[in-house]
Amino acid sequence: MENPYVPIEAVIKDVIVENPIIKTFVLKPEEPLKFSPGQFIMLTVPGVGESPFTPSSSCFETERVEVTVLRQSGGKVTSALHGMKPGDMVGVRGPFGHGYPLERFKGNEVYVVGGGVGMAPMRALMFALLHEADQYKHIILRYGARNPELRMYKELCKSWETDPRVDVVYTVDIADETWTHNVGVVTTIMKPEDIQDVKNAFSIGCGPPIMLRFMVPVLLKMGFAEEHMFFSLEKNMSCGMGLCGHCRIGNLYVCKDGADFSYDKIKDFPDVWA
């Protein structure tokens, strides 16, 4: 029987400094890593520990997988990762979870909202959407960061501004003199006029719990159906397989049943945004 606890080896090919607290690690796994956007992996820093991350790269590149990591203060794994260099080895288990239901999104407007490092999984999602952009009625991205310095994927975000396939609006909580876009939290750039057929549109949100919590009433007011509002939850996923118990809320294992849930599935759990 296969042992799902054994990580496969992955070499760090490159380390991209996104900003002072976020780095993107380009990994070459020893065997191709097939995943769909929204699925997560368990990344092992040898001898240090293991943490869940959602790849931020395109699912069509299985031999070059990118993981964008925020260094958490006091975080053993993220601190160790931030000290790693090209050539170093990490371990990968997964992918886990079931990813976003892209098939259901097809033919409809897709409203992607990323906040902070939560933009990482949203980038993977954007790559997948844009890969067959004609399949979707409209692709809309709203991305908020704390300040211009803490934004990620700056070149890519710039290129999307002129990409006719996607409607993007960016914001930061606190601007500086270089900033030419919006100022305010991400919910301030979510407008009813962003969507034409809101009853059939889908939203996908990933960001800090407080942002997701404040997105809910805004999305509902815009007219989204609860079953069409997807959120990526961050819980303490450890085994990734629904065995260890840590990530459970209510009657769901976030690892196995998610990590993305439509709002109707999670709205009754008081600990969902904690």
Partner: protein
């Protein structure tokens, strides 16, 4: 199919089995029953009836601490064949706990190879419970203090020896090793067994009459989600997790990595949802930051989650948690209090 063996003949069987594989029996260590390996030193004083051992049966199948991976040399301990082993004297509640754990560890999409391997190799010989404690409440979970299915062999102690009931092919094979030691159980012997069973069953039922509820556990939890009873119990709970560590159905574990020699290993240890850091994530947020959240969470997990996912409660009524609790919290009383909408006076 039921056989009879005198005590000395049954020893003979145990000795035959023990020549081939480890056999674990239940014996007293000071005042409590524990599993011990059957050897020439432990052949006396084996307890076939009485009550479940202190340690939960899961300890044999889901070890307190287990290395689950070594890397980077991709090596899998699960590939290592385990040898067969025999457990003698588990009770019906213990057997039920395995059914409960099977749902998590071997019925899902991804199976735990260590658990699966141990389950494959573990032969379970149960026995009828004869001395339920005050804390026993299996009948509230629709269980009986004697097993009816799922065992390899079941023992029922009667005055002159044991009745052996065959529950699987594996059990039948075990008996075939000592056919000469067995006789067909007589109708009067079986009658004696059934009478003993009735007595025990009535005792457990009777002592739990006062804990009967007007509605199923699951409904009560869903209804009383915001009850003040939770807060009152959390004020009393020491969060020591004794109830969870001795629970036969708790399956949570923690994975950690460490360096060993030139390589690394991933180790898993039992973990408990009463600990503050259990649900905390990297960013520092905690889904269950207070003791009240965590107490309630235990009940949600065992009586709501498990029922909704697997159609069974993750509780066997073994009463270990009640015995282990330093704050004298009795799960049955918690439910009664939830039902009444207040906490009892004896707090």
């Amino acid at each position: 199919m039921a056989f009879f063996a005198s005590f000395s003949d049954f020893w003979g069987l145990l000795e035959k089995w023990a020549q081939e594989k480890p056999v674990y029996v239940v014996r007293y260590i000071s005042d409590n029953l524990h599993y011990q390996k059957f050897t020439s030193e432990t052949r006396d004083g084996i307890v076939y009836d009485e009550i479940r051992a202190v340690e939960p049966l899961k300890s044999f199948f889901f070890k307190i601490k287990q290395r689950v991976a070594e890397y980077p040399v991709s090596y899998s301990e699960s590939g290592k064949a385990e040898t067969e082993f025999i457990i003698v004297g588990a009770k019906a509640c213990d057997l039920r706990s395995m059914e409960i754990l099977d749902e998590t560890f071997m019925r899902g999409e991804i199976k735990d190879p260590f658990y699966v391997e141990r389950r494959k190799k573990g032969i379970i010989i149960t026995s009828d419970c004869s001395s339920p404690k005050e804390t026993c409440f299996c009948t509230l979970l629709s269980l009986k203090p004697y097993p009816e299915k799922g065992f390899d062999l079941n023992l029922s102690k009667i005055s002159e020896g044991v009745i052996l009931e065959v529950g699987s092919e594996r059990g039948e094979r075990l008996l075939s090793q000592g056919k000469e030691l067995l006789s067909q159980a007589s109708p009067s012997q079986l009658e004696g067994r059934n009478k003993n069973r009735e007595v025990t069953l009535s005792k457990v039922k009777e002592q739990n009459e006062k804990f009967a509820l007007s509605k199923p556990y699951r409904e009560l939890i869903e209804e009383k989600f915001d009850s003040s009873v939770w807060g009152k119990y959390s004020g009393r709970c020491l969060e020591c997790a004794a109830c969870l560590s001795i629970c036969p159905t708790c399956h949570c574990f923690l994975l950690y990595d460490q360096k060993v020699g030139e390589g690394f290993e991933k180790v898993r240890v039992w973990d408990f949802c009463y600990y503050r850091g259990y649900a905390r994530v990297g960013g520092g947020t905690n889904a269950r930051p207070t003791g009240k959240d965590r107490i309630k969470n235990k009940y949600i997990k065992k009586f709501e989650f498990y029922m909704s996912k697997f159609g069974m409660y993750a509780c066997t009524g073994c009463g270990r948690c009640i015995e282990a609790c330093l704050a004298n919290i009795d799960m049955r009383q918690v439910f009664k209090d939830l039902e009444a909408g207040q906490s009892s006076n004896n707090m």
